[in-house]
Amino acid sequence: MESEVVRAEMLLAPTMAFKKVQTADKYPKGQSRGRQWKHLRHLLQAADATSLPPDRPNYLNIQSPPSIYPPKRYCDVTGFEAPYMDPRTKLRYADPEVFRQIRMLPEEYVQRYLAVRNAAVVLR
C-alpha cells in the first residue's frame, strides 16, 4: 500500500478490536455473498402494510397525497411555461424555436429529457 494512502488513513481496517463479530467472519470470503438486501419498496410491502393497524402512523401512511392543484407544465428544454406538447416526442415546449430544436434531437436525448420528469418509455 502506498505511503500516502496509509498516512491519509483512508482505508477501513479489515478487523476492528472493538467489534464482537468481525466483518470477515460475518461475510466469509469465497462464499457467494449474493444480494443480501431488498429494496425499501419490497421491505415495506412485506412488513408494515400487513402487520400494522391502519390507524397507527407508519412509514407508508404519513406520505403526502398529490397536490390539490393541477400540475403546471414546463418546457422540458428551457424550463419556461409550456403551453404546447409535441405529439411525436411527447416533450413539452415553450415556443416554436424550442420546437425546432426538439425535432432535431436524437431519440436518446428525447428519452433523457423525459426521464428527468420520470416520463420516459421504460422497456421491461
Binding site: E9, A17, Q36, L43, A46, A47, Y69, F80, A94
Partner: protein
C-alpha cells in the same frame, strides 16, 4: 474543504465513563457522531461507502466518507460506485451501515469495546424492520449495552425550543437530503399521526441540476460530477419569491436575466494556431506534385504507344490474312478461315475496319466522323435501296426495320435542324427588337424573368412543402404537399366503388388516365419544369449581358451554406451558464411534479398536516405562529419568504403566521439529540439486548421516546 481532509482519530475515548451515551445523527447525507452533552459532534463525514480495488495489489478495500481525489488514482473505481445505506431516508443496506459504523467508532477512538449507550436518530415512522436490523447490528456486532432511537427533526425542534426560537406548540418543516417532512407539535411532543412526508429532497435537487446541465452541455458531461453539482447547488441556487414572475424575467428581460446568470469557465487551452506554410514548403509541394503528374503522364503515354503497337500488329496480321484469302481458291479459303477462327471474309473486313478506327482514335487523329456517318449511311441501311422481289422473307423483315429506323433518325435530325433554325430566327428577331427599342426590350425581358422565376419558385415550394422547416426533417407527423395529397386522395377513392351499383370503370378511355395521375413521378411536370428553368437561365444570361450588375437569384440561392461546417472551439464553448437552473432546481421542493413525483410540495404539506391534526382552528392558529424551518435544503436564499407566501395561501385571510429558520439547520438535530442524551430521563428510554430478546419485533412498534429537554 472538510470533504478533503479526513477526520482525525479522537484520543480521549477512554476518558468517558461507561454510562456516557454516544450520540449519532445518522443523516442520509452526513453521519455525525459525538458525546452526549457536548456542543459539537466529534466526527462528521459524508454517509457513503466505496469499495474500489487497489490497483497494485488487486485487493478490494473499503473507503468510508469523502476522499481526496488525488489519492483515488491508486484505486480502480470502474467496477464500483458510491454506495449509500439509505433509500430515501430509511436505512436498508446494513452491510454498508456496518462499514460506516466501523469507521465512525474507530474515528471516535474506540479501542477494545464500544461499551456506551447509544442514541441514534432516524426518520419519522421508521419502519420497524429497519429499527430491528439496526439494533441487532449495534447489540451483536458492537456489544452496545442499550439503544434509543429518536427523530432528527424533533430533536432539532426541541433544541430550538430551548433556544427560544419556537414555542411548545408548533410545526417543524424539514427539508432533508432524501425527503421533506412536516411535523406538528402539541405540548412539546410531536404528533406523528399528523405529520407528512414528500419524497423529494436535496439529493433530488442536485440530481436535477446535474441532469439539466449535462443535457444542456453534452460535451462537458464529464465535468458534471455529483460533487460538483452539489457544490454549484450550495453556492448558486436560490428560491424564487414567485416562480412564474421569475420565469417571465428570464424570458422577457434579457438584461436582468443576464445579471442573474452565473458562469463557470471550464479550463480551456486555445488550440495551436496552424502556421501558413513557408515558401520552401510550398515549392517542395509543387515540385512533388509536378513529379507525380509527370509520372502519370509518362505512364499514360507508354500505355498509348503499347496500344498503338498492338493494334498495328493486329491490323497487319488481318491484312495478310486477307491477301492470302484473295489469292486462294474455294477449298483453301475454308481451311484458312477455319485456322484463323473467322467465319467469313465479311467478318474479317469489319474487324479490320474496327481496328483501323480504334488505331486512329489512339493516335489522336480526327476521324472524320461526319463523312464516315454519311458514307456509312448506305452501309447502315443496305437493304433499303434493294427492290423487294430480290429479298428473302427474313431480309424483307430486316428491310422494314431498317426503313423505320432510317425515317425516325432522319425525322429527329430534321426536328433538330428546325429547332436550331427557329432559335436562330428568334434570336434574330430579338436582336432586331433590341436595336429598335432597347428600353422596352429590356423591360420585357425583366417581366418575363420575374414571371418565370415566380413559376419556378412556386413549383419548388410545392415540392418542398411550406411546413417543412429549415432542418429538413420530415417525419411521421409532417403534412404532405399538395401533389402528394392529391395522389393519396386518388388512391383512397380508387379503393372504393364510386356508385353503389355496377362497376363502370374502364367503359371510357379517360378512366385509365387516373393511373397516370397516381403514378409517383409526374414526368410531364418534370419536363415542364426543366423547360422553364432553362428558359429562365437563358433570359437571365441575356439580362446579364445588358446589365452586368444583375444577379440571377436562382444561381445565387443554389450554393447553400454548409450547416455542418466545423467551427474552431473558443473559450465561450467551455463556459457553463447557470441561469434559470439557479431557481428551477430548488423549485422541485415546492413542485415535486417537475421531476415526476406526484406529491404535494412543502408549502402545501403544512396544510395537509394541519388537516390531519384533528384539532380546533384556534390550535392550528397557534401552531402557525411557531413554524421552524430546518434541514440542510432549507438553506437556500429566499426559502423563508417563499414558504411564508406559500403557506398563507392555505390559511384563512389575515391568519397570523410566523416562520423561523433553525439556529443551525444542519447541526441542530445532533445538538438536540446530545442534549437529550445528557438529560437524566435518557436512561429510562433506552432498551437493552435483553428487552429485545424478550419482546421481539413488537418492541420497535412501541418504542417511542418522550422528548424532553
Amino acid at each position: 474543504m472538510s470533504s478533503l481532509c479526513r477526520a482525525r482519530r479522537e484520543t480521549d475515548f477512554a476518558r468517558f465513563p461507561d454510562s456516557a451515551p454516544i450520540v449519532i445523527d445518522n443523516g442520509a447525507s452526513t453521519f455525525r457522531i459525538g458525546w452526549a452533552g457536548e456542543a459539537e459532534p466529534r466526527v462528521s463525514f459524508r454517509n457513503i461507502v466505496q469499495r474500489p480495488r487497489h490497483r497494485s495489489s488487486g485487493e478490494t478495500v473499503t473507503v468510508v466518507g469523502d476522499t481526496d481525489p488525488a489519492l483515488m488514482k491508486y484505486f480502480d473505481c470502474t467496477r464500483t460506485s458510491i454506495r449509500s445505506a439509505f433509500d430515501d431516508d430509511v436505512v436498508y443496506q446494513f452491510e454498508y451501515m456496518e462499514y460506516i459504523l466501523d469507521y465512525a467508532f474507530d474515528r471516535l477512538g474506540a479501542t477494545s469495546e464500544v461499551g456506551h449507550p447509544i442514541l441514534m436518530t432516524e426518520c419519522e415512522c421508521n419502519p420497524s424492520f429497519s429499527r430491528a436490523r439496526m439494533s441487532e447490528l449495534l447489540f451483536e456486532t458492537y456489544g452496545v449495552p442499550s439503544v434509543a432511537f429518536g427523530i432528527d427533526d424533533v430533536f432539532s425542534y426541541k433544541y430550538n425550543q430551548k433556544l427560544g426560537n419556537c414555542g411548545e406548540d408548533g410545526l417543524a418543516i424539514s427539508c432533508e437530503f432524501g425527503t421533506c417532512h412536516v411535523v406538528p407539535f402539541l405540548k412539546g411532543q410531536p404528533v406523528l399521526g399528523a405529520c407528512c412526508r414528500t419524497n423529494v429532497g436535496g439529493s433530488h435537487i442536485t440530481d436535477f441540476l446535474r441532469q439539466l446541465l449535462s443535457l444542456k452541455y453534452p460535451y462537458h458531461v464529464a465535468n458534471f460530477t455529483w460533487e460538483k453539482a452539489e457544490e454549484l447547488k450550495k453556492e448558486h441556487c436560490y428560491i424564487a419569491a414567485d416562480y412564474m414572475s421569475e420565469l417571465q424575467i428570464f424570458k422577457n428581460n434579457k438584461e436582468e436575466a443576464e445579471e442573474k446568470t452565473r458562469y463557470w469557465q471550464l479550463p480551456w487551452v486555445p488550440p495551436p494556431r496552424d502556421e501558413p506554410p513557408s515558401e520552401e514548403e510550398l515549392a517542395r509541394k509543387a515540385a512533388y506534385k509536378e513529379k507525380a503528374g509527370q509520372r502519370l503522364r509518362d505512364m499514360a503515354a507508354a500505355k498509348r504507344s503499347q496500344k498503338i503497337a498492338d493494334l498495328e500488329e493486329k491490323l497487319s496480321g488481318l491484312e495478310d490474312l486477307m491477301d492470302h484469302l484473295d489469292g486462294a481458291d474455294e477449298s483453301q479459303t475454308t481451311s484458312i478461315l477455319g485456322r484463323s477462327g473467322y467465319l467469313s471474309q465479311q467478318e474479317i473486313k469489319s474487324d479490320i475496319l474496327k481496328a483501323t478506327q480504334s488505331l486512329r482514335k489512339a493516335k489522336g487523329e480526327s476521324n472524320g466522323n461526319e463523312e464516315n456517318a454519311d458514307a456509312s449511311g448506305a452501309d447502315k441501311y443496305p437493304l433499303v435501296s434493294v427492290p423487294d422481289d430480290m429479298l428473302t422473307p427474313e431480309q424483307l423483315k430486316e428491310k422494314k426495320k431498317q426503313i423505320l429506323l432510317k425515317t425516325t433518325t432522319e425525322g429527329k435530325l430534321r426536328a433538330k435542324q428546325r429547332r436550331a433554325e427557329e432559335a436562330a430566327l428568334r434570336e434574330k428577331q430579338e436582336e432586331e427588337r433590341r436595336t429598335e427599342n432597347p428600353e422596352l426590350y429590356f423591360d420585357e425581358l425583366r417581366a418575363r424573368y420575374l414571371e418565370l422565376s415566380e413559376k419556378v419558385d412556386q413549383r419548388k415550394r410545392q415540392k418542398v412543402n411550406g411546413n417543412n422547416n429549415s432542418s429538413g426533417a420530415v417525419g411521421r407527423g409532417e403534412r404532405l404537399n399538395a401533389a402528394q395529397k392529391e395522389r393519396m386522395r386518388l388512391l383512397t377513392t380508387a379503393a372504393f366503388d364510386r356508385g353503389k351499383g355496377e362497376d363502370t370503370f374502364g367503359m371510357r378511355d379517360e378512366d385509365w388516365l387516373v393511373y397516370k395521375k397516381m403514378s409517383k413521378e409526374n414526368e410531364e411536370d418534370d419536363d415542364g419544369k426543366d423547360d422553364d428553368e432553362s428558359e429562365l437561365a437563358r433570359i437571365a444570361s441575356k439580362i446579364q449581358e445588358v446589365d452586368p450588375t444583375f444577379v440571377n437569384k436562382h444561381d445565387a440561392v443554389e450554393p447553400a451554406p454548409d450547416p455542418h461546417k466545423v467551427r474552431p472551439l473558443t473559450a465561450d464553448d467551455f463556459k457553463i451558464a447557470i441561469g434559470i437552473e439557479r431557481f428551477r432546481c430548488p423549485e422541485v421542493l415546492f413542485q415535486p411534479g417537475m421531476i415526476g413525483v406526484d406529491q404535494a410540495g412543502i408549502d402545501e404539506m403544512v396544510s395537509i398536516s394541519l388537516r390531519r391534526l384533528l384539532e380546533d382552528e384556534s390550535v392550528k392558529e397557534r401552531l402557525c405562529q411557531s413554524i421552524l424551518v430546518t434541514g440542510g435544503s432549507s438553506l437556500f436564499p429566499g426559502m423563508i419568504p417563499r414558504l411564508e407566501s406559500g403557506i398563507r395561501q392555505f390559511r384563512p385571510y389575515l391568519a397570523p403566521l410566523k416562520l423561523v429558520r433553525a439556529a443551525d439547520p444542519i447541526l441542530d438535530a445532533w445538538r438536540g439529540a446530545a442534549a437529550f442524551a445528557a438529560s437524566s430521563n435518557f436512561g429510562k428510554q433506552t432498551f437493552t439486548l435483553a428487552d429485545y430478546r424478550e419482546h421481539g419485533e413488537s418492541l420497535f412498534h412501541r418504542h417511542n421516546i418522550v422528548y424532553t429537554l
